[in-house]
Symmetry: C2
Subunit: 607 residues, 2 copies
């Protein structure tokens, strides 16, 4: 009933994470060093995150006119996290990193995310700095990224605008060269930015010395117009406070102004902002606009940003998963201790008997088992994807390329599936608590509210689905989908060797066949409007097939003779998934297969 | 895009509500008087409820040590509601009522519930007073019920206790005779009550002169012990302030003390309390215990309470439905006005084109159509059930008895189905809004939070499912289920006459056959532990079949040639339900049919 044993099993017995230290980059690591990282993170999460999860929900960030005020616990949590070294866990030893595999980084992150998803803002800072490590100049890496890894600065991703959320091609923030010498700034080509950025998490706070905004903006052409579409988008570093080329604050405030705090349903520990760039609130260096340094080439902004998208989306999936796990643990604890009612026996109920704990009721078991199957299954998938990231970065060329392509196909699932089904898990966690679950005296209602964000940010459910069915399963001639099917078939074949797993293996084989046929049928007319009319049901079914495969593959690491509680639990959760969940794909896929236009062609006036 | 046209269609064109005035009780009514009631309620809801829905969420009830403080708007809403006469709408003219059919009362209630579900507490007061009209003495009716109908007093239902929520047989509140003359009190046999009651909505406030608590308690036997089980439960009127036999306040406070306010996830406009009865905070008339007057015979408390359960549960279903509708209207409005992205054409998207409103995207249409199908379908079912209540009360004997039995079977669905699927609708309403839906600047997040209560109160989802599969489909030799199947078959036969409806009719016929076979299979071993192991999936499938039938029956009232927007909308929503929703029953029913014990037999240690 705690996260650690599940992580240990998945990492070491299923994914052979310890085997990663055969690779040069991880040669100085071992199961012992991995365990030390997990120990540290587990402890910090327990001491500095979990006790304050409700506090950061009730004491929402507020702006006093000058500063954004956060509970002191938020600063403590940030400092402890930074001090742990986790911000630079994946980086080279040479710059103070641990050269930790991403698989371990992701696993360790689960401790923080289950303890308090919104108190920590580390994810964005690491993503920001990683992007600069990949696409920034030497000076940009040294001045900005390195200071983010140390925790001295924090980072944001400023993509959306009030009028451009899902549709990034419509951003209107403008970047114009800052003076004739704009190209000779040691921090990179210098521009002046003007525009508004919406939904910027951790966009304003006092947790760190400085905030490094990574901002998408368009450089107008000679005619002063912005290029339509995403090709016109470039990427800029816009620090809240200006720095010199050694990263020291110059004492100048950049023209980045808080326009408003967003007041959210959940995830309240993290400030979410509307920022005005270059509106003139903080005039800087005698000209208009916020100063920004271009990263990479003009017009390559989105490509740079998407470089990090897989990890960002796995991060969202992990957040959703962690909330699912947190709700599962909380409701399991409640169910083990709450007496209520009597079991249904062959003769019904006997009121003269004492009450039993609710975990003895079949329906409560069903709700707990569903949560276990959803959230532990999702955790396995997240770690599998993290392992693919390591493969992509450190594997032999062919394996690395396969990992890259598998990630392309799996990322929409890794992001969307936990967002939907671990949210459902949280609803079940409330239900297990009965009326108490509806009160703020128990943590589950907050998990449910926090988790509702994950289907929205970093690309909505609809965006993920269009990406999956419109692009990912067709890219490179469908090679990604074939590769994934190959992995699933390998699992099926191994499972067929074991009589206890044959039923599941056959069910998965049939589901996979159905998924493949449906993918073909969706595109039979080669008309995107028809193929994508039911992209979300397709993604739901695809996700369920992936999760069924994940559970079957996990069972391959559980001995058929193993009778310890954990083994019985995994077998039971997989069985639940195959019996109760996998059959749901039929209803989802049939509308896709016949390219049902009931929704797409429904006339607006008829709503 | 407003509730009224949908209500008008369902009431008059589908259910022939106007035909009710052929009955003696409703003879003075007509479509005109019904419309006048709907007009009034629509106006009060718009003026006194809707504008304050967010306010009552943010200004939660608080206790200042003496009084529970609510926003002034709550008192205004109560007064306007009471002044409308709706509290006594169904009562005889002789006591100031309107003799309005319940069908109309329920329809009118939808205006208030969509406007602000939690500002109004009328539902409980009416239920309380109705119970007294059915089971109270003449004095109890006159002193308590009549003053509730006028809005001078309000009412509660005090069933649950901290240790006894779903399991009412375990209540421990004790009622002992109050003195030797206890049986001669004009207000009824007088007892002294001691115990704690949990989850009491509107349990303490200053909205009315007095609060009439209806309290379940056990009268100890001669040995001082409480009878185990529900047979030992009796029902008592426990007024917050004592009254004389004319209903005038005597100036004495009864010993009912607020022990705490529950702080909830939603539904915050309604105070929810833990009450202590007879703890000695307000000693009264020189003896210990809160004074209560027994209603009905000793041991008959639960029977009296359940008399009103059908209407209470339809009320919950209507609340869930109304919240579903409110979210649908809000997201429809948003989708019609929010520009974002471009449609997918046969050649994909064209970034040079201007953005379109999101209602033009297929996936947004899917989310809107799902909401429409869920919430308008649920509304139809609620009104159908309300019409059965009228039939039960005013129909010819055989029809009345059929209506009673149909209600027995349908009530668990009427309560549970909207609670689950209109909550899902609210989640889709958030999703349509994207990031804005996650903020408290838009109403949809509150609808979602408010709606989460409905799967919990008035009998949880699990309790409804056990009631449905364990009792309702088997009672009277399965006659209720057969009756319902008969109604469905009648709809199917009529639909088969119309080529445009034949596909749906056949799908429903097949689903009904599957449901019947599964019901038999569940009970094939006559072992409740096996039959009920998957009661919730059974109820979900049952509900979907009922809703498919409802939609098909609604379409019978829509001409095949009608091409007005409303007709096209109903046809499209029904089509959505048959294509996307009804096929889901397969996955739910197969575990029921094979009496899958995966959950029930999962060992506790393995979680």
């Amino acid at each position: 009933m705690s996260l650690r044993p599940t992580l240990d099993f998945l990492l070491y017995e299923w994914l052979d994470a310890a085997g990663l230290n055969a690779r040069e980059r991880f040669a100085e690591h071992s199961r012992e060093t991995f365990d030390a990282v997990l120990d540290t993170c587990e402890r910090i999460a327990r001491e500095r995150f979990a006790p304050f999860n409700r506090l950061v929900d009730t004491e929402e960030p507020r702006f006093d006119g000058e500063k954004v005020i956060l509970p002191a616990a938020t600063k403590d949590a940030w400092d402890a996290y930074a001090a742990s070294g986790m911000l630079s866990a994946a980086q080279d030893y040479a710059i103070g990193g641990m050269q930790l595999p991403y698989t371990l980084e992701a696993a360790a992150g689960a401790f923080f995310a289950t303890a308090s998803i919104s108190i920590g803002g580390g994810l964005l800072t690491v993503g920001n700095a990683n992007l600069l490590m990949a696409h920034g100049s030497e000076a940009q890496r040294r001045v900005f990224a390195h200071n983010e890894f140390s925790g001295r600065f924090s980072g944001t991703m400023a993509l959306s605008e009030p009028q451009a959320g899902s549709s990034l091609s419509d951003i209107a923030t403008r970047a114009t060269p800052d003076g004739a010498d704009y190209e000779s700034d040691p921090l990179g080509p210098r521009y002046r930015l003007r525009g508004n950025k919406m939904w910027i998490s951790a966009g304003e706070h006092e947790l760190t010395e400085n905030i490094v905004h990574l901002v998408l903006a368009k450089i107008p052409g000679l005619d002063g117009r912005l290029v339509p579409g995403t090709r016109g988008i470039s990427l800029f570093i816009v620090p809240k406070k200006l720095v010199d080329d050694e990263g020291r604050l110059t004492g100048e405030r950049n023209d980045v102004a808080l326009a408003g705090l967003n007041h959210k349903l959940g995830w309240r520990g993290t400030t979410n902002t509307l920022l005005n760039f270059g509106e003139g609130r903080y005039p800087v260096r005698g000209a208009a606009g916020a100063i920004g340094y271009r990263v990479g080439q003009p017009g390559e902004g989105l490509r740079c940003m998407f470089h990090m998208m897989n990890e960002a989306r796995i991060g969202i999936g992990m957040a959703a998963t962690a909330l699912g796990l947190a709700g599962y643990y909380a409701s399991l604890d409640y169910a083990r201790n709450r007496p209520q009612g009597r079991p249904v026996g062959p003769q019904g109920k006997d009121a003269a008997q004492p009450q039993v704990r609710i975990i003895e009721h079949a329906d409560v078991k069903r709700m707990l088992l569903a949560q276990k199957a959803y959230s532990e299954g999702a955790l396995a998938l997240m770690l599998y994807c993290a392992r693919l990231v390591d493969e992509q970065h450190t594997g032999a060329p062919e394996a690395a390329d396969e990992a890259r392509l598998l990630l392309e196909v799996l990322t929409p699932i890794a992001k969307s599936w936990p967002s939907e089904f671990c949210l459902e898990a949280n609803s079940l966690a409330i239900q297990v608590h009965g009326g108490y679950g509806y009160t703020r005296d128990f943590p589950v209602e907050q998990y449910w509210r926090d988790n509702r964000l994950n289907m929205i940010h970093e690309g909505t459910h609809g965006i993920q689905a269009a990406d999956l069915l419109g692009r990912k399963v067709r890219m490179e001639g469908g090679r990604g989908l074939m590769l994934l099917a190959g992995r699933m078939n390998a699992t099926i074949e191994r499972a067929l060797q074991r009589p206890a797993l044959a039923e599941h293996a056959n069910a998965l084989a049939q589901a996979l066949q159905q998924l493949g046929a449906t993918t073909k049928a969706a595109w039979a007319t080669e008309n995107p409007a028809e193929a994508l009319a039911n992209a979300v049901p397709y993604m739901q079914a695809f996700g369920h097939v992936v999760l069924a495969w994940t559970w079957l593959d996990v069972l391959l690491a559980v001995g058929d003779d193993a009778q310890d509680a954990a083994a019985v639990g995994r077998r039971g959760a997989a069985r639940y998934f195959f019996h109760y969940e996998l059959p749901r794909i039929g209803a989802w896929l049939q509308v896709v297969a016949r390219r049902d236009m009931s929704c797409a062609q429904f006339p607006e006036a008829a709503f």
